[in-house]
């Protein structure tokens, strides 16, 4: 079963229909589809968006957070692979402690790590913007609700006063 079929299983049909409407979900070949599905399921179940506008931003957040996790994981893999290579070259060396090997691995891969950092930073900026837009929409909704409640309760009070005077 591929990750897309798995996603169809874990999400409610309506949530999956909404996801499909927003464009085909995509995942890089070689990525852990099972893990991605669990991640999407956890987020969608805990938030349950009922407005398509909110779901658009939720999808952004899921995809950007996933990218960030992948890039961070790539950094760890890069450093540990390189450290292992150094260890394999000379297993008996006195400088083979974890800190030294990691430091050598980082020093040897500065351009790659810097590129990954830039990609993480770029995704984080877009993720934070999505959070801000969600908050803005929610704040706007809260203001509209407050105005509606104020108007309603104002009308109720005026009505009560009118009834009181009439009595």
């Amino acid at each position: 079963m591929n990750w897309l079929d798995k996603l169809r299983q874990v999400l409610a049909p309506e949530d999956m229909r909404m996801f499909d409407l927003l464009g085909p979900p995509s995942l890089a070949s070689g990525a852990d589809g099972e893990r991605y599905c669990r991640f999407v399921e956890a987020i969608v179940r805990s938030v349950s968006p009922d407005d398509l506008g909110d779901l658009i931003y939720l999808r952004d957040l899921i995809e950007l957070e996933w990218d960030i996790m992948q890039y961070r994981s790539a950094k760890v893999t890069l450093i540990s692979d390189q450290a292992n290579k150094f260890w394999n070259v000379d297993p008996d060396s006195s400088t083979n402690d974890a800190a030294t090997l990691s430091a050598r691995a980082i020093t040897n891969n500065v351009p790659k790590l810097r590129q990954l950092d830039l990609m993480i930073e770029s995704s984080e900026i877009r993720r934070d913007r999505a959070y801000r837009e969600l908050e803005r929409r929610r704040a706007h909704l809260a203001k509209r609700l407050r105005d509606a409640v104020d108007r309603h309760s104002g009308a109720e009070i005026a009505n009560d006063q009118h009834m009181h005077r009439a009595a």
């Binding site: 409407l21 085909p24 070689g30 994981s73 790539a74 890069l78």
Partner: protein, 169 residues
Amino acid sequence: MTSPRKIEANRRNARASTGPKTKEGKARSARNARRHGLAASILSEPQAAEGIATLTRALVGENPTAQQHGAATRVAEAQLDIARIRQARNTFISPVVLDGVRFVSLEKTERRPAWQPDGRQDTFTTTQKLVGSVAALAKTSKAFDRYERRALSRRKFAIRNLDAAKESG
């Protein structure tokens, strides 16, 4: 100095080289300069229109005002554009990153688009070769960021307009 006979032969040969003749050849050469197709509007893709119409209906229902319909269409266009860009990004970048950033050398002879608008994807090996190096990854990543940023900005203002149109409508 080139002889008149040679010049005449060159002109005769040049008249014969007027580009592709067949429909397939013309279609192929029309895509010569195409790299990933993201600079073109999503409306240039024939299958996009249906997706945009469906998403627009989901956003505003069956009987929207003209203002609501316009705003929802812009949201739908931008959203599907973002999905297209992310799909392309996943094809170009992530396999290399996920593979522990094990870059391979760029082989120019095999350079061709790894992502096609019809969703067909070329082989993983080709994608790796396209990315090639840290410098190439940086360049590709920046290009995708630029396209995505523009689409996100378009969508943000379209959603705000749609919210305002729904309130006033």
